[in-house]
Symmetry: C2
Subunit: 280 residues, 2 copies
């Protein structure tokens, strides 16, 4: 997905949010926003939003001197998600269609996102996703593909959300390689966050090598690219991965909640819509 | 009121909205946003938001080659407001307290604002304001001040809104000088818009001389400043004028709807609140 003009003010808002998390001094945050403002001219509309997000959060890290300003927030998200693990497991197992229920749970976990969302009223938003109709639901193709695939490449998104992914992984009952970012970026899941969520107990962990808030292939490691190109069945979580991979000719199923008007317009959907969208 | 960090992404959003109105070419709008991005470092947090808005909309005019991109929108706003004139007049005259009802009408007109609001669902928002409780209602002081004042200086805000102001002017029954901006800026009312609304039939018109979206005194004409400094009773409409005049030691009554989180925080109120706020 390309960068839309509406993404530019949003980049500035994101820098402000990250700046407020990493710094106390208003003047220092102002200087950060000044710098990000000057970076906008170097952001071509042809690049994907996570490519630009990567540059902006690099600037945040550089100016705050903090390579991982969201660390505590991520730990808190994981704790909050773990507290809901048993309840959601039970909800899935009691469901008439546990696989689709677990897909819903994984999408519900996607509400944890400090890049796109300001306030996350976790409990409320999770309930909403669990009960919402799918705007796109390629579940037949998903079941088919999953049944035939010997293994699953599962590209994770945010910390905390990993706990919800774990429930889908456990429900699918297939060997899974779970992909995390190569370095901290916003609240995206790194190896540390996946381990804290217990993913290492149910899947192999692999880093994509990227330092971007989305799986931008040219920033990924060779090792990841080799695995990605051979993967028979891929699950991609969240907006950042969608933005980076939406034009890829691979067997990717995108699980996400539409969190901003720009993506909604790009997909012909509405903000708040939830999707299980297969390869086109 | 000072500029908050949250105003900076908003300035960029405003430039985008104005760019979309004035230009078709995405590349040209991108160049505008690049320029505005680079201007952010020259915006001190000590300046008021309309001072910065002024610089940004100057850039919009410069880059679009259009000194008045909102002209048609303003004309459309005036037409839409005039269509509601008789109905609102009747509502005021039937009201138990016509003066406070007319104050409500004037505040309701303030929902017409393409600077702060994206979509204006006019009819719906007007109804809402007419029925809403005041968050601040210094109506006793307002009545007192108005009764004693030989004349009123009424500082207008947006085109279209003028029609609603006219109803308050007609209800107050005092000689009124109605102040418009000196040059087109966003959808703010100029002399042309006030005349289209029929204000010239019920009040004297005067330009403040400013080219800012708010009455920033150092950008106003000497003639206006002379009148302003002697005015015994002043009505100030809308956020832009509030932002510019909130710290002024003058007998100003602010009539506005709080349209953004930043002003809400600054005033200790909530977005959507309506106010008739006297001098402190």
């Amino acid at each position: 997905m390309k960068t839309y003009l509406e993404c530019l003010p949003c980049f500035l808002s994101q820098a402000l949010r990250a700046g407020r998390i990493a710094m106390r001094d208003e003047r220092a945050i102002k200087r950060l926003l000044d710098e990000v403002g000057m970076m906008l001219r170097d952001i071509p509309l042809e690049s994907t939003p996570p490519e630009s997000g990567r540059l902006i959060y690099q600037k945040v890290s550089e100016m705050t001197g903090n390579p991982d300003p969201y660390r505590e927030i991520k730990q808190e998200s994981t704790r909050a998600a773990l507290a809901r693990y048993s309840g959601l497991k039970e909800w899935v197992s009691r469901s008439e269609d546990p696989l689709l229920a677990a897909v819903r749970v994984a999408i519900a976990g996607n509400v944890i996102d400090f890049g796109a969302n300001r306030d996350v009223r976790l409990a409320e938003e999770i309930e909403e996703v669990l009960e919402k109709d799918f705007a796109v639901c390629d579940d037949t193709r998903f079941r088919d593909g999953l049944r035939k695939a010997p293994e699953v490449l599962y590209i994770g998104d945010n910390a905390g959300e990993c706990v919800f992914d774990r429930i889908l992984i456990e429900t699918m009952g297939k060997p899974v390689t779970y992909v995390v970012r190569g370095r901290p970026i916003i609240n995206d899941a790194t190896r540390e966050d996946a381990v804290a969520a217990g993913i290492d107990r149910v899947a192999s962990l692999m880093s994509s090598g990227t330092d971007a808030p989305g799986t931008i292939l040219h920033t990924c490691s060779r090792e990841f690219l080799r695995v990605y190109r051979q993967a028979p069945f891929i699950i991609s979580k969240g907006q950042g991965n969608y933005e980076a991979l939406s034009n890829e000719p691979r067997p990717i199923f995108f699980l996400l909640k539409v969190k901003c008007g720009v993506i909604a317009r790009d997909m012909g959907l509405r903000e708040g819509d939830i999707l299980l969208k297969g390869p086109s």
